[in-house]
Symmetry: C2
Subunit: 189 residues, 2 copies
DNA sequence: TAGTTGACCAAAAAACTAAATCAGTCAAAG
DNA sequence: CTTTGACTGATTTAGTTTTTTGGTCAACTA
């Protein structure tokens, strides 16, 4: 039971962050949940924020693995862009920790949380940029500023998946694919 | 001097909302600025929020007049879309009242302010929808769900004009036009 | 002695309370 | 009739006390 203490700490913290958010999670609580003395946590992590950072890193890896899993090399490039982005935002709206963090940022404006969510967004853009740059190199799509393009693509999907829901019925994956196809394939005009 | 009391009240309130925001503006202050007894305000407006609503209505009219002013019927449709949207967001980032309200929403989360900014956004989308529907009817662009399209167009411009600046050097009007041309004219692929 | 612990501390946050402020009213004045 | 500002109850703020929390470290195991 008391074998991998580090792993137990990370699991306990993940559970508590997911349930109560970052600020409302105390180190005493994490220690108790992990069946560990509080001091032990500080032998593995410099402080609460570093523990949080490690969990966010795993989260990013998990998200990118999910996106990677959904890509099929034989499908058209735009189809894969849609699949990857849609999966990433689906993850964001289904994964308990992500839901809680987004909520905490909006409602309490916790600084550490805002920073980490920004970090997640940057990592996603970096991941997309790799894909786009590869497609440009391969000649599959014309050259363009890939950072601005990825940034804009992500914002478009966030708009269609999350922002739209504030005032309308949610759009299905197919509807979103349909709208995006216009912009990705032919342009509006 | 004491002729159009209603106008003086609206002007005083506009000045105060622009300078201090909605919450930090008191009705006593507006009355004093307008050289009017506080009771007089309540003969024209049911309450503070209704006074605010009238000012927001004027703001929307002003914004749409600015967008309208910048449109030139002989230019290509996409060029006019860019001009109108860019002008609307330029207005948002230059007009004192808009700056203050956006700041107040972000920093204090004042409910009435959030509602009114949402209203402004809805009005802009409604205005754009009129333009897009007209272009579809004229056969200038292919048919599509114009509400989703307008919503997405606005979000794209907000992303390029405002969101991008959080982590990067601002993009010039020309750079934004360039990026949008890709999506509007030919599509990414 | 290397790894673990929880009592302990300063600092931050929450809870509480008294004082001040504010939106809206209305009797009196013009 | 219109205009006014003193007035009121509800809300906010400011100041203070109490509680909680992140992080440390001397003592304690195994």
């Amino acid at each position: 039971m008391a074998l991998d203490r580090r792993k137990m700490i990370v699991e306990a913290a993940t559970k508590s962050f997911s349930l109560f958010g970052y600020k409302a999670t105390t180190m005493d609580q994490v220690a108790k949940l992990a069946n560990v003395g509080k001091g032990t946590i500080y032998t593995f992590f410099k402080n609460k924020e570093e523990l949080f950072e490690e969990i966010i890193s795993s989260l990013v890896k998990e998200m990118i693995a999910e996106a990677e899993f959904v890509i099929q090399p034989d499908l058209p490039f735009t189809e894969n862009v849609h699949r990857a982005l849609y999966r990433l935002l689906e993850f964001r709206s289904q994964h308990q920790l992500m839901i809680k963090l987004v909520q905490e940022e909006k409602e309490m404006g916790t600084l550490a949380v805002a920073e980490k969510l920004q970090h997640v967004e940057n990592e996603i853009i970096e991941y997309l940029k790799g894909k786009i740059d590869a497609a440009i190199t391969k000649g599959a799509i014309p050259a363009a500023d890939s950072e601005i393009t990825c940034f804009l693509l992500l914002k478009m999907y966030i708009a269609l998946v999350s922002d739209w829901e504030r005032n309308h019925e949610p759009l299905s994956s197919e509807q979103i694919a349909e709208v995006m196809k216009v912009f990705l394939l032919k342009g509006l005009v």
